[in-house]
């Protein structure tokens, strides 16, 4: 992958990830009120897909990062390289928790306990996602092809 394509995909990855995090807030807030609306389940799925999509994009740019960016980054700024590693692990947590919350709502949303559990999972996904986004911003400010 050339540097320009990498930069475009990384930019898209970051913007979609922030969009996904914002989307997570809607089901989180609407689950605070009593009852379960169909729109809440739909928005939980939309949010889960919006965090899964940039996760997939991250996979597509990872080989280029690994071969062209990471070696130089590890030598020059190891703390940023390690921040990237932490970020990719937390991103997986975010996607797992968001999808688990959406599926929990779909199958068990009628039960009060299930709704509360889904809300907890969404809150944890948002927390992991926010840390991921902050670390991602730090990495993106430093890392690029040819670093």
């Amino acid at each position: 992958m050339n540097g320009q394509a990498y930069a475009v995909l990384v930019g898209l990855h970051g913007h979609l990830a922030w969009l996904g995090l914002v989307a997570l807030v809607h089901p989180l807030l609407s689950l605070g009120s009593a009852g379960l609306r169909r729109g809440t389940v739909v928005s939980a799925w939309a949010a889960a897909l919006l965090v899964a999509l940039p996760f997939g994009l991250g996979w597509s740019v990872y080989p280029t990062y690994r071969s062209q960016v990471k070696p130089g980054l590890l030598v020059e700024v190891p703390a940023v390289a390690l921040a990237f590693e932490t970020k990719e692990h937390l991103a997986f947590f975010t996607v797992s928790l968001a999808v688990a919350a959406a599926v929990t709502l779909t199958f068990g949303g009628g039960a009060d306990g299930a709704r509360r559990l889904a809300r907890t999972l969404l809150a944890l996904a948002l927390a992991c996602g926010l840390v991921t986004a902050v670390l991602g911003g730090i990495v993106a400010a430093t890392a690029h092809p040819g670093f």
């Binding site: 390690l82 947590f93 797992s96 928790l97 599926v103 068990g108 009628g110 299930a114 889904a118």
Partner: protein, 109 residues
């Protein structure tokens, strides 16, 4: 004699929720466990970048497999009378488990 499949039961909504949420948390724990185990035996994402390294998709796949096994097991074991309390327990456990895994990932990136 009971006909084949007579013991099969339909999961209620709470049981489904318990199984799915347990599977999601199991994926997080499995991923973190694999990463920490790899770091403890000497494979670090930061150090051995040029050497043999467990592929990311492999770790994610194994975590998904573990999540599926836990989810199916919980679905088979949990009964409708137990599922409400199981939901409560899972809800209490979720935050400490995820925080612990997140801290582990920061310590062993």
């Amino acid at each position: 004699m009971k006909p084949l499949g007579a013991r099969a039961r339909v999961l209620d909504r709470s049981s489904w929720a318990v199984a799915v949420a347990a599977a999601g948390l199991a994926m997080v724990v499995s991923y973190a466990g694999q990463r920490v185990a790899a770091a403890l035996v000497g494979e670090s994402g930061g150090v051995l970048w040029h050497s043999v390294h467990t592929p990311y998709f492999w770790r994610v796949g194994v975590a998904a497999l573990h999540g599926s096994v836990v989810g199916v097991t919980v679905a088979l074991l949990v009964t409708p009378d137990r599922s409400p309390s199981a939901l409560g327990w899972l809800r209490c456990l979720a935050a400490p488990v995820v925080v612990l895994c997140g801290v582990a990932m920061a310590v062993w990136p």
